[in-house]
Amino acid sequence: MTERLVALVLLTGCVAYGRASQDIQLLFGAEFSPFNARTFPWFLAWSGGLLSLGILVFPGSNSRDPAFAGLAWKPALFLSVLVVGYALVIPFTGFFVASFLFLSAAIISLGERRLMVFVPVAIGVALGLFLILNTLLGIYLDDPLLRTLGVN
């Protein structure tokens, strides 16, 4: 059932891709050319559509049946939210604070509550990487906190 549902989603995606390919703007006269910016995507939409239709009819074998039972969704989704949070926070806090917060929260969420483990790991990795990138490789990273502390 899940196999067919996903195949249906993929088929819908291919139809949408094919539809969007016809909205690609063409240069003057390009529609009369044997090959233009729409040709390859149009061919791909058809290929993808036929293949997803094939999967819908012949779903094939799955090594995990059922595919989504008994999985630890909560911690995995929490980590995904942390990644999103990292992306949203980094422009405001800078590299070091965002990295420290991400690593600490991720390690704690997976069950490591010892301060003497997650704090040194988070600080060590964030600071170490910052110094390698900034000092050794010359990649500028904006970090208000470390700048104030005179690290860079």
Binding site: S21, F40, G48, N62, P75, L103, I139
Partner: protein, 500 residues
């Protein structure tokens, strides 16, 4: 050729490149030893480091990581029966029983010697085959390239997962679709950008590789509640002797020789790769053995261990042949390397060894150095590497996630890329759980631009007719090979469905 070898030696033997080979082998072994993490993840995680290096050094580092990851995968296959990558599954058939008999040290040594010999023999074959093929490839035209890319994608899809060819083919098409996002290369018209400026340059290969492999793998470890590999340190404390007797050496030497050649040939074929090479080597070796020796296979046969190890390492070198000479990668791993090279402004292909001889030859020479490094440095360091592997998942997973996202962020400094990455990673997790392979997606993504360009040229020259697919004998031969590769698994799909 002598000039080329000298250029390669000069480049590969610089202190920085020697250090990079060692670093690559060590990092690759470490990551490869972690169950579930293979060469693609290892190389993806290394790409951000390579941006500060010149193309030769970058490729040298990535080649070292590739070898190291394969070797690392063998280590976990032998010690805890948990192959890090599919190509080391066959290694566990006899490696793990040997370890259970208290001969883990011997098993690791056989794996190291077989890998070293396989790598060495194939490096020599590569030295001969690559320039010859590159010269031949200079006569290739657009239709031939298009057909060859079609063959590569079809072969990777056909061999990716047994019984799921349709899914693999769909992933290849999806990779091509993702490659079409951004400005059209020939007309600069925006395609599928939906008015988002971040998509104008298209998707980044590193982003896609990190999202589908490193980030997705890290999340899958949590999702599937995979256990820590902490028991590995216990196994390594009782490794036993690393020495082999003269009889044992005599027994495995011919095996290593023939399976190295077989592995190299399989590796050169687009899509086949080290997994098929290792299983084929194991199978042929068992069939060649006497009935008495055949009984030992699966119980701790040293020939059964040496055969897949020699073959998978030789196949790794073999897979560089189509990438370096034709600019067409034969596997997901070499696809990422090709993508990285393209981003440095180097175009692999038949002109690579004329335009960039330092890149071409130094990679070949560094493969040989990499094999030495693995044998001399990595083998004695296995107990220490195993201890590193014992880092608990609750610390290791956040680090993998962190290095994945920071690797992508450092390239573009765009938070949009991180958000896109997590979206792709979640989609990849769903697809991976349903046995949709990721390697065809990556390969197709890398080849997408080149494929469209060659199709465009071919169609323009033929007034829109697809007769270019059979006009030249070479194109026709490649297309027939593609149809043959496609037909076998599709017939199987229909047969299975009608048998239900």
């Amino acid at each position: 050729m002598i000039d080329g070898i000298l250029i390669g030696l000069g480049t590969a033997f610089t202190p920085i490149n020697l250090m990079l080979v060692m670093l690559g082998c060590f990092a690759g072994t470490f990551i490869g030893t972690l169950p579930g993490l293979g060469p693609i993840t290892a190389i993806s995680l290394m790409i951000p480091i390579t941006y500060g290096l010149d193309p030769s050094s970058s490729l040298i580092l990535m080649a070292g990581v590739y070898y190291g990851a394969i070797f690392g995968g063998s280590t976990s296959a032998i010690l805890i029966n948990a192959p890090g990558v599919a190509s080391t599954v066959a290694t566990s058939f006899d490696g793990y029983p040997l370890a259970q008999k208290g001969q883990a040290g011997k098993a690791l040594a056989i794996a190291a010697y077989a890998s070293f010999s396989g790598g060495t023999i194939s490096a020599i074959l590569l030295l001969v085959a690559a320039p010859s093929l590159a010269k031949l490839a200079l006569s290739f035209q657009s239709p031939d390239y298009f057909a060859l890319m079609l063959l590569g994608l079809t072969a990777v899809s056909a061999f990716a997962t047994r019984g799921n060819t349709l899914k693999a083919l769909f992933m290849a098409v999806l990779g091509l679709m993702l490659a079409s996002v951004g400005q059209d290369a020939s007309t600069a018209v925006a395609r599928f950008t939906f008015g988002i400026p971040d998509l104008m340059d298209g998707l980044n290969l590193l982003l896609l590789a990190m999202a589908t492999f490193a980030l997705a793998e890290g999340l899958l470890v949590v999702l599937e509640r995979r256990k820590d590999s902490a028991d590995l340190s216990g196994v390594t404390s009782r490794l036993g002797s690393l020495k082999l007797s003269r009889e044992e050496v005599r027994e495995i030497a011919p095996t290593i020789g023939r399976q190295s050649v077989l592995g190299f040939v399989i590796g050169v074929l687009p899509g086949a790769g080290s997994t098929i090479a290792s299983f084929l080597a194991y199978g042929t070796e068992r069939n060649m053995a006497s009935s008495e020796k055949q009984k030992e296979f699966g119980q701790g046969s040293i020939r059964g261990l040496a055969a897949p190890e020699a073959a998978n390492n030789a196949a790794c070198s073999g897979s560089f042949v189509p990438m370096l000479t034709l600019g067409i990668p034969g596997s997901g791993t070499t696809a990422i390397m090709l993508g990285a090279l393209l981003s440095y402004g180097v175009s692999p292909g038949p002109r690579l060894f004329i335009d960039n001889p330092a890149v071409f030859w130094s990679v070949i020479i560094s493969m040989y150095i990499g094999n030495f490094v693995l044998l001399i440095l990595n083998l004695p360091m296995i107990p220490y590497i195993s201890r590193l592997v014992s880092i608990p998942q609750r610390v290791l997973v956040p680090l993998i996630l962190y290095f994945s996202i920071i690797g992508v962020y450092l390239v573009s400094f765009s938070t949009f890329d991180i958000l896109l990455m997590i979206g792709i990673a979640l989609a990849a997790i769903i697809l991976r759980r349903l046995d949709y392979p990721m390697a065809p997606l990556i390969l197709a993504f890398v080849l997408g631009g080149l494929m469209e360009e060659n199709l465009r040229r071919s169609l323009m020259l033929n007034d829109g007719s697809i007769s270019f697919l059979w006009q030249r004998p070479l194109t026709l031969a490649i297309m027939l090979a593609t149809l043959a590769v496609l037909a076998i698994p599709l017939v199987r799909v229909v047969k299975t469905a009608s048998g239900r």
